[in-house]
């Protein structure tokens, strides 16, 4: 198994009223790298998660103008979101090319641990710090930001890859069993899964605020429009025609779990990505305009009973907003780019309303989306297009926020001020958040 450990709980800023982050503006993102994207793994070396991870890292280093020998830290989110490859036989060319991780035959195939990265990326000879931020790149970014701020590393890669092999996504393991053990004994006998829980919350939301599923359409269509302007994204590279859906397409799509339909779900893909984080002092000498980290915070909500209720979801997202603003020293009106998570789309309104971005209050998100949320308009919400517009990674919102602040978001570049930004994922109850700025002050 990987010897790198998950980050300790102490690294996450989960509590309210901690004040401004002690390393505000002293840490910066200086490199972004995305591999090409694929729908599934075709079992070739060149499309393996490991190969793509190396590509993404090399692009991030090139973007920053940093040599691999200068990297002294690696924080990985070590597992992707798809099914593992093992116990299927490891393809011979993969096995002959990369050094495996003891005890984890899937390493490099369904994700890449920090150990796998250090062992297989050419030139990473001076890494003295590794740590894992599991389950989400936002988690890994939070870990790396704090680690660099604390002096545990000076130039740190933040990496995740995700694989998608053949077969019905998610219909393996516990889903294929006829018994339910552990936590699933309380849920699976009734056919629960993550998706219905989100649909349940959305149903409660619509009942409370008098909305309905059709009112999601403007947001979904805009997400896909933004995806059509994101060259690193899956749809842009592979299926641009899939982004051209109409309101009618959306409201008539088949149900997955009513009130959640096909277009509320994100598409699993095969890809990898990397960021490079360093100290503000070093960032000044690198190729790209630094994106200073003004705060990081996390939510680790405790659900009272079996199902997270709307009241709990709203309390969780209120807490996220409070921590975002307290730790960064910003107010809602000073937050320019707002890129909360969208996979699944049905919980995105909770973030928007909790953050009160552009004055949106509880129950108002769906009406807000019916206004002008295009990137060239006055309220460019979720300018990345998210997972919905780009495929399942949980990272497009991070990349877009950085690019917006650097002025290199291309066709997605917003026309409003873009001096501060927020991105994070994944659920209201369990999520990690990054606040960025163009100035360290």
């Amino acid at each position: 198994m990987s010897v790198t450990q998950n980050a300790p709980a102490s690294i996450y800023r989960t509590k309210e009223d901690l004040g401004v982050w002690e390393h505000r503006g002293k840490v910066a993102v200086v490199g972004i790298g995305h591999s090409p994207t694929f729908r599934r793994w075709d079992e070739r070396l060149e499309t393996s998660v490991g190969y793509l991870t190396i590509q993404a890292i090399q692009k991030a280093l090139e973007d920053a103008g940093v040599k691999p020998e200068e990297v002294d830290g690696v924080v990985s989110s070590p597992k992707g979101m798809g099914e593992g490859w093992a116990p299927r036989p490891i393809p011979e060319d993969f096995a002959n090319t990369y050094k495996p991780t003891d005890g984890d035959p899937n390493d490099g195939l369904d994700g890449a641990s920090a150990d796998w990265i250090v062992n297989n990326v050419p030139g990473l000879d001076n890494v003295s710090f590794t740590m894992h931020g599991p389950a989400c790149i936002s988690n890994a970014l939070v870990v790396a930001a704090q680690a660099v701020g604390d002096g545990l590393a000076k130039t740190c890669l933040v990496v995740r890859g995700t694989g998608n092999i053949g077969g019905r996504y998610g219909q393996y393991g516990a889903a294929a069993a006829d018994q339910a053990s552990g936590a699933s004994q309380w849920t699976n006998p009734w056919g629960w899964q993550l998706i219905p829980q989100i649909a349940f919350g959305f149903d409660q939301y619509c009942r409370k605020y008098g909305s309905n599923h059709d009112k999601m359409a403007p947001f979904i269509l805009n997400q896909r429009r933004n995806g059509s302007m994101f060259p690193e994204g899956f749809y842009y590279q592979n299926r641009p025609e899939d982004l051209q859906i109409t309101t009618e397409d959306y409201v008539s799509a088949r149900w997955i779990c009513k009130p959640m339909n096909l277009y509320d779900c994100d598409l699993p893909i095969q890809t990898a990505w990397a960021y490079l984080i360093t100290t503000a002092d070093r960032a000044k000498d690198m190729k790209q305009k630094p994106v200073y980290i003004l705060n990081h915070c996390s939510q680790r909500g405790v659900v009272r009973s079996l199902v997270e209720t709307l009241e709990e979801t709203e309390a969780f997202t209120d807490s996220i907003a409070k921590k975002v603003y307290q730790g960064s020293g910003l107010t809602a009106s000073e937050l320019d780019i707002c890129n909360p998570y969208d996979g699944f789309t049905l919980f995105t309104q909770y973030y928007l309303e909790g953050l009160k971005w552009h004055g949106v209050k509880r129950g108002e998100a769906h009406d807000f989306w019916a206004g002008d949320i295009r990137v060239e308009g006055p309220h460019p919400f979720s300018s990345s297009g998210g997972n919905n517009g780009n495929g399942r990674t949980r990272t497009w919102n991070q990349t877009d926020t950085m690019q917006q602040l650097q002025g290199r978001a291309g066709l997605r570049q917003v026309t409003i001020r873009a001096e501060t930004g927020l991105a994070g994922a994944f659920t209201p109850g369990v999520s990690d958040w990054m606040v960025y700025g163009i100035s360290p002050d």
Partner: protein, 134 residues
């Protein structure tokens, strides 16, 4: 309708034993006197690990529902589409349960309606707690 069969563990064994006797019990915190479900080693509200079991009234109300059309659980695929309701316990509405509301037509779940616990055999000798409209 075939369902996944729960596998009791050390913590949950008393719960499933009670269900098999057609009783719905939940944990009660001896320190803060709040109910807790699903069972956990300590109270989520106050952190006390002094918990005992308490039989509930078995009465509840439907808070919300959704309909599974394309789910992940292979043994449930033949049942699709099916209702999954969330039921709150009258003894403490902060406690909730899932239910497939057997006998209630798909998509026609009366949110807010009163329900009572019932028990359904999912394997020989193994019941699960379910709910039905009163």
């Amino acid at each position: 309708m075939s369902k996944l069969i729960p596998v009791p563990d050390e913590l949950s064994q008393p719960f499933w034993d009670a269900v098999n006797e057609r009783k719905l019990i939940v944990q009660n915190c001896d320190s803060c006197n709040k109910l807790q479900y699903p069972p956990k080693p300590a109270c989520e509200l106050c952190g006390s690990n002094s918990l005992s079991w308490k039989e509930t009234s078995g009465k509840g109300h439907i808070l919300s529902f959704f309909v599974v059309y394309d789910g992940r659980y292979q043994v449930r695929i033949p049942d699709q589409p099916y209702n999954v309701a969330v039921v709150t316990l009258d003894d403490d509405p902060g406690i909730n349960f899932y239910s497939n509301l057997a006998g209630t037509p798909v998509k026609e779940v009366p949110v807010g309606a009163a329900v009572e616990v019932t028990f359904e055999e999912v394997a020989p000798g193994q019941l699960i707690h379910e709910w039905k409209l009163v």
